[in-house]
């Protein structure tokens, strides 16, 4: 036994133990990070190099198209924009002149030009309303008067006719305010409806339960477009003769009914997630159904589903763009109409990118907010 150990000891190169050993591979710092996350294996290295090449190439192409070769302004002669320069660089550079020229139209549609401060103020008010609603310290009954007052002010600003504001008929509204009005009013009305339907679907009363199931499943089974068509084509047939509701309101009703069904399912998820003990404890306290629901169940159930609710809100904000198909003048329709003019035909890409950026701002803010909220609300659950 000792021979063997001796042999192995001897076979080692003399002086090896004293030779300086190589330093261990770095595990901190930029190089180590890159080695681990970008060049971890042969495959990873290949992917990094390929993606890096493509990203650099596309970035250069995009910067050249959008900035270096772009045209920001074109001369206007006799009210006609001279877009020859833009046509010459088509495919090589962007023609942002269409935005410079048409941004007021895209944002506010055919609203009287001198009165544009009113829809602009409306948009600011909407954003403030969203920000206030997003703050957790306002999550109580104070939100109701805040919403009522803001929505009234918005109505006054858009219509005018009082307080020295000139009257602007609804047909002339357009652009971003319409998108915000459709989505905000739609959700404001759909949300109470959704809570009622969700409660109805969980109800022990068979007839009410069946009505709610029927409503939710029918609406969720058909596309929003069919409801919008219904609102624009069939709705006038439903009403008694002489009674007329304008197109925007009809679309608003369709969107509200549609959103109600989807939100009801989200709320129902929260109601189901609540432990039975909460229902039983409320019953044991002798609370009536509405006391139990309003004081015990809903506050907890809604808190559980806030993140999916925000995701549904994002969905509806995007879906309001569908009113383009029935010819209501929202942001996307305004963008599409801006390039109908012969001088600007063919510059759709620039307009759609701009409109897309506006949508992206709203939706990205909402989605980041919902992610942060999810982290905050789940903090007590994580260990």
């Amino acid at each position: 036994m000792s021979d063997i150990t001796l042999n192995t000891a001897v076979s080692r190169v003399p002086g090896d133990a004293s030779a300086p050993r190589e330093a261990p591979i770095r595990t901190t710092g930029a190089v180590a990070w890159a080695r681990q996350n970008l060049f971890g294996s042969w495959l990873s290295t290949a992917v990094t190099l390929l993606l890096g090449y493509l990203i650099v190439r596309w970035s250069i192409g995009i910067v050249e198209w959008a900035f270096l070769n772009a045209i920001w302004e074109v001369p206007v002669v006799n009210g006609q924009a001279q877009t020859q320069a833009c046509r010459e660089i088509k495919g090589i550079g962007a023609c942002w002149a269409v935005i410079t020229e048409k941004h007021r139209f895209i944002l506010f549609g055919t609203y009287p030009f001198e009165e544009h401060w009113r829809p602009a103020l409306v948009c600011v008010l909407f954003v403030c309303l969203y920000v206030v609603s997003a703050m957790r310290r306002f999550w109580n009954w104070t939100l109701v008067p805040i919403w009522l007052v803001t929505l009234t002010v918005i109505g006054v600003l858009m219509w005018g006719g009082i307080l020295g504001l000139s009257y602007v008929p609804q047909e002339r509204w357009g652009g971003l305010p319409i998108t915000l009005i459709l989505s905000t009013f739609g959700l404001a009305f759909a949300f109470p409806l959704a809570i009622l339907v969700a409660l109805g679907r969980r109800s022990k009363l068979p007839a009410i339960k069946m009505l709610c199931v029927l409503y939710v499943e029918l609406i969720r089974g058909v596309p929003l477009i069919s409801l919008l068509f219904m609102a624009s084509v069939m709705f006038p047939l439903f009403l008694p003769e002489g009674m007329n509701i304008d197109k925007l309101l009809r679309a608003q009703v369709a969107i509200t009914l549609f959103a109600g069904a989807y939100l009801a399912e989200v709320v129902r998820g929260g109601l189901q997630a609540l432990p039975r003990g909460q229902y039983e404890a409320a019953d044991a306290l002798g609370l009536s159904y509405w006391q139990k629901t309003g004081l015990i169940i809903l506050p907890q159930a809604l808190r559980l589903v806030i993140p999916p609710l925000v995701n549904t809100f994002i969905g509806f904000f995007k879906d309001t763009s569908l009113v383009l198909i029935i010819g209501i003048f929202d942001l996307l329709t305004a963008g599409k109409t801006a390039i109908v003019e012969p001088a600007w035909q063919g510059f759709g890409i620039e307009v759609y990118i701009t409109v897309g950026l506006i949508y992206l701002c709203f939706c990205f803010a909402m989605s980041k907010y919902s992610q942060g909220l999810e982290r905050d609300l789940n903090r007590h659950r994580r260990r």
Partner: protein, 401 residues
């Protein structure tokens, strides 16, 4: 023992029913009154709308009924899976629309699933660049309205050069503002038979896999299924094709005059709709796939490795079956969404059921019937997809004791 079973607390009948009291304090009576009120309200609202509608239809002299379906449509349809001319009936035109909707939905669902799964896996990649890129894609694509994306793609496809200067990214593939041209083979009845043979092969492979699994349960010996599978699914159609003379005539598109002849055409409308639907839905599917894979406990990987399974086997036999349970229900709603979103085709002029029904109701004035047809078609499709996915979900669901 017998005394405990006769204990009234354990009897299945529950507490004895009290007789109905005529007082507001009686819960059952309250329930009945509420239901009567709500149902009465809903019925009266619908009755009011119905009577208004009947009156309005009389005043405007619109005949109701589906008789118009047998009339000549006279509306041209660009692409159709079945033979169609404007001289055909509205019924046939609407059938063409339904088939077009199904075409884009089926192809879209398959492609979106593939792309979404790839992006979802890429988001979990250890490569920082790849996972960030996937995250960026998912975030941006989900924050833009689908309609905007469709218009964007359609504008890009419209901006392509004409057929004479068509882009030619690969041999026989041409991209122009008239759409995409792909090479194909001249399709004969022999090819149909070969396709049929492939379906037969798939069914036989499935049966064979079942038998093999039953045998494995009996004696514990694993049996290889894939050699027989390859032979049946690929070999059988090839054999049929070869036995019937192996007809093969390539049909490559070529420029003649002002447009291309030969090959198969993907219209710009269909192409834009497909790109839009696939990239949009893939963003949502990627998140579902990522959440599904992440939902499987790390311990499952480690336990499987400890058993000596190979990585592919771990993924196939341990992780995926568990991840699928989380993935399938939200995936179903994404498939339904894609199908319903295909109705946006009307905005870019792809003639799906909504577009054709809309034209029909404009031509005939049969608004109620037209919208009823649209809704009926989508309800049927939605119901079929959810039934199938529910069946599949029940099959893969966790069997608990």
């Amino acid at each position: 023992m017998s005394s405990s079973t006769s204990d009234p607390r354990f009897s299945a009948a529950g507490p004895p029913r009290r007789p109905l009291r005529l007082s507001w304090g009686d819960e059952r009576l309250r329930g009945i009154v509420w239901q009567l009120l709500v149902v009465g309200l809903v019925v009266s609202v619908f009755w009011w709308l119905w009577s208004n509608t009947v009156h309005n239809l009389e005043v405007r002299r619109i005949a109701t009924g589906f008789g118009f379906l047998q009339r000549e449509a006279g509306l041209p349809i660009g692409e159709s899976l079945i033979p169609y001319t404007p001289a055909d009936t509205y019924l046939r035109a609407l059938t063409v629309g339904v088939l077009n909707t199904l075409k884009v939905a089926v192809i879209g669902i398959i492609l979106a699933t593939i792309l979404g799964t790839l992006v979802g896996i890429a988001r979990l990649s250890h490569n920082w660049l790849l996972s960030k890129l996937a995250a960026f894609y998912v975030e941006v694509i989900r924050d833009l309205p689908l309609l905007l994306q469709l218009l964007f793609w359609y504008t890009i496809l419209q901006g392509l050069p004409g057929p004479r200067q068509a882009l030619n990214p690969a041999e026989g593939v041409f991209l122009s503002n008239r759409g995409m041209k792909l090479p194909f083979i001249e399709w004969t009845s022999v090819h149909w038979l070969a396709l049929l043979a492939m379906v037969v092969g798939i069914v036989l492979t499935w049966l064979y896999a079942r038998v093999a699994r039953a045998k494995q349960y009996a004696d514990g010996q694993p049996r290889k299924v894939w050699p027989a599978g390859v032979a049946l699914i690929i070999g059988l159609p090839l054999a049929v094709w070869a036995a019937l003379g192996a007809p093969f005539t390539p049909d490559i598109p070529a420029l003649r005059g002002f447009n291309f002849q030969g090959g198969i055409t993907v219209s710009p409308e269909f192409f834009a709709l497909l790109i839009g639907l696939v990239t949009y839905t893939a963003g949502f599917i990627a998140e579902i796939v990522r959440a599904g894979i992440q939902s499987v406990n790390q311990g499952q990987w480690e336990a499987a490795e400890a058993l000596g399974l190979r990585r592919g086997d771990i993924l196939r036999k341990i992780v995926l079956p568990q991840a699928l349970r989380v993935i399938v229900p939200p995936m179903t709603s994404q498939y339904l969404n894609l199908t319903k979103n295909s109705s946006l085709a009307v905005a870019i002029g792809y003639q799906d059921i909504v577009s054709i029904a809309n034209t029909t109701l404009n031509q005939t004035g049969q608004a109620i019937e037209g919208i009823a047809i649209i809704m009926l078609v989508y309800l049927t499709i939605s119901l079929s997809i959810s039934l199938f996915m529910n069946w599949y979900n029940a099959r893969i669901a966790l069997v608990e004791r």
